[in-house]
């Protein structure tokens, strides 16, 4: 992983931004050109980019990153309830809260490394999840999840005691005299954050998040993180105190997750504890390794692919399959439908698990490594064709 040149990085960034902005058009032929799904791509892209800053650069495998996602969602919904349906305060607050939460957890968990670190993060995420379901119900609204409600009438606002089941306060909205009808929708200074405006809000943040991740990876700080992954012990004897580097990476990564969680709440103002479960943490790990941990584009690619196939595969049912296999004779059709049926619809997770295994077994560097291998082979062929001496070592 050598240091790419500035020009190359700028080209990468511009292409990335272009693709994201054009995504609604580009992905329509694939049946993914609608805002709800595109928002998911962007949000989980941000989540995975953040996870990759920790796992991809330092090699520290956190199994509790969903906790920050959940915290981000809760923080946002609270901002919607207390201040305003405008997304700006919610996003900022969520990132800050997730950052503080990550600092606390990182401070403790980063005392250990390797498998111990993974288990400590898992333990913290499980604790957060369990607490969100039980004693923290006044903050999280337990199983029902935290939701925005109607605005409390302004004459009652003075002696208003916030009640999760009743009405919301929204001090700022009240002060500016925003009129609401029914259950409110999040907005950016009046632009409703649903549909394409919602996607483009997420898209802009995704582009910023991606650009920032390039900066981090190419910075002195990023080099130290890579050195930690490569040989932490040596780095200590090189005069580097690795702990603050790791904590910083952990916090940055937690803030990314908080941002993603906040955007989940922006597109759908509801926060539930299941977002913090360790299966959710596992999902972001999968996204990152599927695309390629430690690469710039990989995590976004992985997140998009998984959310895309989740969407496609979950929608396929037996009728669709029967249609698909209609060219087969009846008996074969039945078998084909039964077998394929295991992997689609509700069986999507089975496909996900298999994909996980196949990637780790055959392509630990993820899809980006796969592309690299193909590109290298192509290049080498070209070189030998022109009878040039190739110094490239065999893979």
């Amino acid at each position: 992983m050598n240091q790419g040149s500035l020009t190359k990085d700028i080209i990468l960034f511009v292409i990335f931004a272009g693709l994201v902005i054009a995504a609604p058009v580009l992905l329509t032929p694939l049946g993914a050109g609608y805002p709800d799904l595109l928002q998911k791509f962007a949000i989980f892209g941000i989540f995975a980019i953040g996870f990759n800053i920790l796992f991809g650069l330092t090699g520290y495998l956190s199994f509790g990153h969903a906790a920050f996602l959940g915290v981000g969602s809760y923080a946002s919904v609270w901002m919607f309830k207390l201040l305003s349906m405008n997304v700006i305060p919610a996003v900022i607050f969520s990132v800050i809260v997730a950052g503080i939460f990550a600092l606390l957890i990182g401070f403790i968990t980063l005392r250990r490394s390797g498998i111990y670190f993974s288990i400590l993060t898992l333990a913290f995420a499980q604790m957060s999840y369990n607490l969100a379901y039980s004693v923290l119900t006044p903050i999280t609204n337990g199983e029902t999840g935290l939701q925005v409600r109607q605005l409390a009438p302004s004459d009652r606002a003075a002696d208003y005691v916030l009640n999760l089941r009743d009405e919301d306060l929204r001090i700022l909205d009240q002060a500016f005299g925003v009129v609401e009808q029914g259950i409110p929708i999040t907005n950016l200074f009046g632009i409703k954050m649903s549909g394409y405006p919602g996607f483009y809000f997420c898209a802009v943040l995704l582009i910023i998040a991606f650009g920032l991740s390039i900066l981090i990876a190419r910075s002195n700080f990023g080099m130290m993180l890579k050195a930690i992954k490569s040989n932490q012990n040596r780095l200590n004897y090189t005069g580097v105190n690795t702990r603050p580097y790791l904590i910083t990476a952990f916090v940055i990564s937690g803030m990314y997750a908080g941002l993603a969680g906040s955007l989940l709440a922006v597109t759908d103002p509801l926060a539930g504890a299941e977002r913090m479960q360790w299966t959710a943490s596992g999902e972001v790990v999968l996204m990152t390794i599927l695309g390629g941990a430690g690469t710039l584009i990989g995590p976004v690619l992985g997140a998009t692919l998984i959310k895309y196939f989740e969407n496609i595969f979950s929608a396929i049912n037996d009728n669709v399959l029967q249609g698909f296999y209609s060219f087969l004779p009846d008996s074969l059709n039945e078998i084909a439908v039964a077998v394929s049926g295991m992997f689609v619809g509700k069986g999507w997770h089975l496909t996900l698990g298999l994909l996980f295994m196949v990637i780790v077994v055959f392509l630990p560097g993820g899809l980006m490594q796969g592309f690299q291998l193909i590109a290298n082979r192509f290049k080498r062929k070209k070189k030998t064709d022109s009878t040039q001496h190739s110094k490239q070592a065999a893979e």
Binding site: I216, S219, N220, F221, M223, K226, A227, T238, G239, V240
Partner: protein, 253 residues
């Protein structure tokens, strides 16, 4: 009397009742190359690990330039100006040779931690020039962009040396710099270390190979059974009967 850089005072260390080191007193003078030799199991590596902060002595202290090293963390010791070359080459296997040298250069300039998230590493032109120069000096101009894990053992060792030297340490600790090397490589390494010697850097070398020791060292301490049994110039050591006895059957002196 010359300035004493490293002072090992009355160090004891035992593992599970076994005395690995006892009554170790050692003074390394500024600018000298001090070799520590001894048969296998004499406690050489233990002594080095005590100096670097990896092991804590049971009693006694290690003082570097007026600062007690005992109890300090490895990165703090390095920041004081003590660099170490390991017995089995320790590099950053996933990074290029150039980046391998850039990391210690950054650590030297920026201290043990600096938040520098925005500035691109490639814009560190000054450090980069230093690092390239260092690698060229060690004859690695061709390998700057090579990934360290793909290097030969000899090159890894040279790379590690470059990583230590770029920090311009006041004291360089070398743990068997020629272990496992062919005679040809050993001679090349000796030449290299001689070159550094001309730079006036203080060095402590732990070595098994007498040839290396006698061609490099200004002074030698002989370790046997966890004690220093002799100390002096190479000539004095060569003729010391105690040393001959300790090495009997070990190796031809």
């Amino acid at each position: 009397m010359e300035n004493i850089v490293l002072h090992v005072n009355d160090v004891h260390k035992s593992f599970a009742g076994l005395h690995a080191l006892s009554d170790i007193d050692l003074a390394v003078r500024e600018g000298e190359t001090h070799a520590i030799i001894g048969p296998n199991g004499a406690g050489k590596s233990t002594l080095l690990n005590v100096c670097i902060g990896r092991l804590k002595p049971d009693s006694g202290s290690v003082v570097f330039d007026g600062v007690t090293l005992t109890g300090k963390k490895p990165y703090e010791i390095n920041q004081l100006g003590v660099a170490r070359v390991f017995q089995t080459p320790e590099v950053f296997p996933d990074l290029t040779a150039l980046d391998n040298v850039m990391v210690p250069a950054l650590a030297k300039r920026d201290g043990s931690f600096k938040m520098s998230v925005i500035k691109r590493l490639s814009r560190e032109k000054g450090l980069r020039a230093q690092a390239e120069h260092m690698l060229e000096d060690l004859g690695m101009a061709d390998q700057m962009q090579q990934i360290a894990s793909e290097m030969s053992r000899g090159n890894k060792r040279r790379l590690e040396l470059a990583m230590s030297l770029i920090q311009k340490p006041r004291l360089l600790l070398l743990d068997e710099p020629t272990a496992g090397m062919a005679r040809h490589d050993t001679n090349a390494t000796i030449d290299l270390l001689k070159k550094i010697k001309e730079g006036g850097m203080t060095k402590v070398i732990i070595e098994h190979d007498m040839h290396v020791v006698f061609s490099l060292a200004d002074r030698i301490s002989v370790l046997a059974g966890g004690r220093i049994i002799a100390q002096g110039t190479p000539d004095e050591i060569k003729n010391n009967p105690k040393v001959k006895e300790a090495y009997l059957g070990e190796e031809q002196v």
